[in-house]
Symmetry: C2
Subunit: 162 residues, 2 copies
């Protein structure tokens, strides 16, 4: 019940955008859905998360993992961000992002590395291994569910930037 | 880093199967990935969860939601189950299921309704609305990640049944 039909969508205000951006910036993990190469089957798994300065989600992947191989074959993916917390799991805010995974430009790597390690200090043991690479997830659109009766759709442009 | 290549997979023991089944049975929510009709884009969102007596995941969907429409068009889906908890998010056990959504047989509905309400008492306000229906998610295969260095692959037959 996370995506709502148009007729139950609420109006997106600056406060709602700020709330959605905060959920993304504060999260240290997400569920990532990718397309399995060959079958096109959706696959969802957990990834560690950070953000770039513009708010774009940032992940690091080992080339050996199923989701890394999938994103190489087809960069389309989706992230679910926001914890269920205690009590009724659907009462807690969460956001579903529709994204496209992109390799980082060489000049972005130092920023990405520093931001990722600030969120995940223990990742220091693997961030520089040759098999690992950072991916920026370009947000194309999003569905934000702030809890019962609070459903919004947003563009990537609303969520990324200062 | 949730799916591991074959060469780092561990041997599946009865204890590991029991641990994986326990995670599924105890969960009251999951991330569900589906394929967006028309685009084939993966979409992930949060759903409430219960299980049938055989351990199959059970969800209830409103026909108005994006994931319900997607599952009607293509029943292939994936569930991520298991909370990240405190500390390092990738240290906590979770399981990724590859599933196919099926309508319940009429004679299964009472069991499903009772089991869903036992896990989600507040769902009583909508389970019987005409727009809502239960779906059984038939597990085809699974990747269980018990934390760093503990990666297993399982079949649906290993996870479902007494």
């Amino acid at each position: 019940m996370s995506e709502k039909p148009k007729n139950v969508l609420q109006t997106v205000t600056p406060e709602v955008v700020a709330e959605a951006k905060g959920i993304i910036r504060d999260a240290d993990h997400a569920a990532i859905a990718v397309l399995e190469p060959g079958t096109g089957q959706p696959l969802v798994s957990r990834v560690g998360l950070a953000t770039l300065a513009d708010g774009s989600p940032l992940i690091i992947v080992s080339g050996l993992t199923a989701h890394a191989k999938a994103l190489t074959a087809d960069p389309r993916c989706s992230l679910l961000i926001g914890e269920a917390g205690k009590g009724e799991p659907l009462a807690h805010p969460r956001i579903s992002l529709i994204c496209r995974a992109e390799a980082l430009a060489a000049e972005q790597r130092e920023e990405a590395r520093a931001r990722y390690l600030a969120m995940h200090p223990k990742a220091a043991i693997y961030v520089d291994l040759p098999d690992f690479r950072f991916l920026r997830l370009v947000i194309e659109r999003a569905s934000f569910n702030g809890g019962f009766g609070r459903a919004y759709e947003m563009t990537g442009a609303e969520l990324v930037g200062p």
